[in-house]
């Protein structure tokens, strides 16, 4: 953060002590931290900033494609039995993944968003339209998205807003139609809050207002033309999404569903808000703009982690460290122009690192890029290992996108891995402390 980052706190001062330090505030970190705090642990989450929750669609995609991304998975629970030994899911198996999903869904009960919650389990994948109208398999989805399931052939109307420049309703509907589900688009011309343009956040804010909602519903109702269900950009309310969604369904007399948008992701913000609220309620702590920058290992343990604070660094002590800083995309792993890969906080060994000169990228964007294979390999207890060797540290567990062995882009497994490994890391610590 500051140029004074080399300077540590004055000698002898302030080494706050916790049971568990969680580094990273994405889905994996928040899950581990909240589960631990709920069980009574003293937890501190240190994060450089808000994590990928605000960018991801808010669905929990457990496993959408198997066999290297070639085969669509209909029943993720069954497909989980077939993952490679090196895959993160092999660390907890289908039962562990199911436990994490059950826990996740329970967090919304009595949370800050009223009756809003999730639907689905490992039994089957839904197929939901992405923001460009492609079909994406998801196992666990916000209740506000479930009616968009493309396995159901009922014709849909996609509602766009002229001010929402990143959401192209006609393009989306056209792609959905090509996929076999009849879809049409309408575009609402109304401005939001006097702003010439908006994103999904602005839409969510506007739709919290019952007056605006009524106007939009009236305009859409005039143009239904036989649609059996109606898709809106994912922004059906910031404060009371269940209420906004139910109100629109009532006004329009048919199922309404949210379609993920480009960032910011309103459903993702709901995940962050809910888990942070639960974390706080259980006495857990979270500091943003507190980037972990190094550690002082003592033998096979990491006893302290240094993190940036205003004008200095602060050393935190803990019995356990959960590293959930993300992969290359989130900056948890750094890849420089000389092919060198580095895990940024603890310098953990990396699996899948590339030989100098080896290709890092594939020619096509959505192909499997070699650099994506870089990650931290772990043992059965999620402890980082040198490939084929003993754990590097006894009290460090790794969760989320930092892990090696998965291909989340191809598999559609990113959030599922973050949730399941974050949850599993917490359970392992709780077992060890029992």
């Amino acid at each position: 953060m500051s140029g004074g980052a080399d300077r540590t706190t004055s000698p002898g001062w302030a080494a706050p002590s916790y049971d568990v330090l969680v580094i990273g505030a994405g889905l994996a970190g928040l899950t581990a931290a909240t589960r631990l705090a709920e069980a009574g642990a003293r937890v501190m989450v240190l994060a450089k900033g808000v994590g990928a929750t605000h960018l991801a669609p808010g669905t929990i995609d457990v496993l959408g494609y198997a066999a290297g991304g070639d085969r669509v998975v209909e029943r993720p629970g069954e497909a989980l039995a077939d993952v490679d030994y090196g895959h993160p899911y092999a660390r907890m198996g289908a039962d562990g993944v199911a436990a994490s999903i059950e826990w996740f869904r329970a967090q919304f009960v009595g949370g800050p968003l009223g009756a809003y919650g999730y639907r689905g389990d490992l039994g089957q994948n839904l197929l939901l339209a992405t923001t460009v109208g492609a079909a994406k398999p998801s196992a666990v989805v916000p209740e506000t998205m479930a009616a968009g399931d493309l396995r159901d052939g009922a014709p849909m109307l996609v509602v766009g807003f002229q001010v929402l420049r990143d959401f192209h309703a006609a393009y989306l509907a056209d792609n959905v139609s090509r996929g076999g589900v009849p879809a049409r688009a309408v575009v609402v011309a109304r401005r939001l809050d006097g702003r010439p343009e908006a994103n999904s956040l602005g839409l969510g804010r506007a739709l919290d207002d019952p007056g605006f909602r009524a106007e939009v519903a009236a305009e859409v109702a005039r143009r239904l033309d036989g649609a059996a269900r109606i898709g809106f950009p994912a922004g059906l309310g910031l404060e009371d999404p269940h209420g906004v969604w139910s109100d629109l369904q009532e006004r329009l007399g048919r199922p309404v569903f949210e379609i993920p948008t480009l960032p910011p992701s309103v459903p993702g913000m709901r995940v962050f808000r809910t888990l942070r609220d639960r974390l706080r309620a259980h006495g857990g702590r979270l500091i943003l703009n507190s980037e972990a920058i190094g550690a002082a290992p003592a033998g096979d343990r990491v006893e302290t982690v240094e993190a940036r604070a205003a004008g200095r660094t602060v050393a935190y002590r803990a019995r356990w460290v959960v590293l959930a800083t993300g992969g290359v995309a989130s900056g948890g792993i750094e890849l420089d122009s000389r092919w060198r890969a580095r895990e940024r906080v603890l310098g953990l060994p990396l699996a899948g690192a590339l030989e100098p000169g080896a290709p890092r990228f594939s020619p096509r964007y959505f192909d499997d890029h070699p650099f994506n294979a870089v990650g931290v390999a772990v043992d059965d207890r999620l402890r980082p290992v040198e490939p084929g060797a003993d754990p590097v540290y006894e009290n460090v567990l790794v969760a989320g996108a930092t892990l090696a062995g998965a291909r989340p882009w191809k598999e559609k497994s990113g959030d599922g891995i973050s949730l399941a490994t974050g949850h599993r890391a917490a359970e392992i610590i709780l077992e060890e402390e029992r």
Binding site: W13, K48, G49, A309
Partner: protein, 426 residues
């Protein structure tokens, strides 16, 4: 008009008037805009763009517009609606110094266009303090009088409903000069700031009592404003002069490893970081010395507690309080020490507010054109406080306390006041 400058380095090294080549830190900070991936996370957290279209959000005004600010400031009026609360920088996952970039850009614009009289006045709390203190009853009456406030609004643009603190009619400095500190092994330097000196001297006296109870001799050097309000209003040269004068007073008092503690959380943040990062004073020896030793009071007390050195002879406090960690306190990056300390006070029931900003942001909410925005920003927080119906609303920042108290009618106190009461001091 400045001559054309060719490189980004030249641009960032001098426009604010400091000596050439010294402002390496701001160069690095401005360079952080290249890490912006337009993820809009800052927008989701900005309390101001969320309530007013006049501020299009930190991403637009910060890393995006900064690319166009070369040798000339871009005449973009929306910049003025940034409050410099710093929340965008706190939430950015890519390390972009959004608030710092915006505060600098705001100052450049004002350097060109001039700073209105009102902003010159409200950014000098010591001046108001010196003038108001001897005539406190009259000054307080004046600031409570509706017609006079209306006239002030019409003439210089301070909103008629904006919270104005009451002059205490005495200063903490005067009290400190007469107060004999009991002998103690450990010493601490107290940076009270102008808020406690002129408006809340009781808070400063309580701080001395709590520190003394924990075995500290409290040294109160002569001191003045930290310059933060000047910085927020774009008067960087004046702000630097205030910082230099202040650290010139504090540094000799904290010659060895003596810690400096402050009760004004925005002013301790100014010394820790903002003067270095925003005013470009990194490397000035006295500032570096002071900066490295400065602690917010609750951060300090919690550190004592971590070492088992805080006295915990607390009496039960049968109260419900709310706690709002203001944006400037969150800027310290040390979490919420107040909550950890409240947790060891028996009987105390604490409701943590879920809000990032009360809206006043120092002097922002005093301004006629911005007061309604600041009330909209604070609405969520005020609602939470009203629903909790607390005995007191705790908050670390003075301007936020005044704003909260005015808006909710709930007495708002510094968290230290709760600890003072828990120690059984009257």
């Amino acid at each position: 008009m400045r001559p054309h400058r060719g490189s980004a380095h030249d641009h960032a090294s001098d426009p604010m008037g400091q000596s050439a080549g010294r402002d390496v830190l701001f160069d690095a900070m401005r360079g952080s805009l290249d890490h912006c991936v337009k993820c809009t996370i800052c927008e989701t957290a900005c309390p101001f763009s969320n309530v007013t279209p006049l501020f299009p959000g930190p991403k637009y005004v910060g890393p995006q517009a900064e690319r166009f600010r070369t040798d000339e400031p871009v005449p973009d009026a929306s910049l003025d609606y940034c409050s410099s609360c710093g929340i965008c920088t706190q939430v950015c996952p890519h390390g972009v110094h959004i608030a710092e970039i915006n505060t600098r850009a705001k100052a450049r614009l004002r350097e060109r266009d001039g700073v209105p009289l009102r902003d010159r006045v409200i950014s000098r709390p010591t001046l108001a303090g010196r003038l108001g203190t001897p005539a406190a009853p009259l000054a307080n009456w004046t600031l409570r009088n509706r017609s006079i406030r209306l006239a002030i609004e019409k003439t210089i643009g301070i909103h008629r409903d904006a919270p104005m603190p009451e002059f205490a009619g005495r200063t903490f400095q005067r009290w400190a000069r007469r107060h004999r500190a009991p002998a103690a092994k450990r010493r601490v330097v107290y940076f009270h700031g102008c808020g406690a000196n002129y408006y809340e001297p009781r808070l400063a006296e309580m701080t001395v009592a709590v520190l003394a109870h924990n075995g500290f001799a409290v040294d109160v050097p002569k001191q003045d404003c930290c310059g933060l309000p000047l910085q927020s209003n774009g008067l960087f040269d004046d702000a630097r002069a205030y910082v230099r004068r202040l650290v010139g007073n504090l540094a000799p008092a904290a010659a060895d490893e003596t810690p400096i503690v402050g009760t004004s959380t925005s002013c301790t943040l100014m010394l820790k970081r903002e003067a270095r990062e925003i005013l470009g004073m990194e490397g000035e020896p006295q500032l570096e010395h002071v900066s490295a030793r400065t602690y917010d009071i609750l951060e300090f007390l919690l550190a004592l507690h971590e070492r088992g050195e805080l006295r915990t002879d607390f009496q039960p406090v049968d109260m419900t309080i709310t706690y709002h960690a203001p944006c400037q306190q969150q800027g310290h990056g040390v979490g919420k020490p107040a909550l950890d300390l409240f947790a060891i006070v028996p009987g105390l029931r604490v409701v943590e507010n879920d809000a990032s900003c009360c809206g006043v942001a120092g002097t922002y909410g005093l301004k006629r054109e911005k007061y309604p925005i600041s009330m909209d920003v604070g609405a969520g927080l005020f609602g939470q406080i009203e629903r909790a119906a607390p005995d007191l609303a705790a908050c670390d920042s003075e301007t936020c306390r005044w704003h909260i108290q005015k808006a909710t009618g709930v007495r708002s106190v510094h968290p230290l006041e709760i600890l003072h009461q828990a120690y059984g001091f009257a």
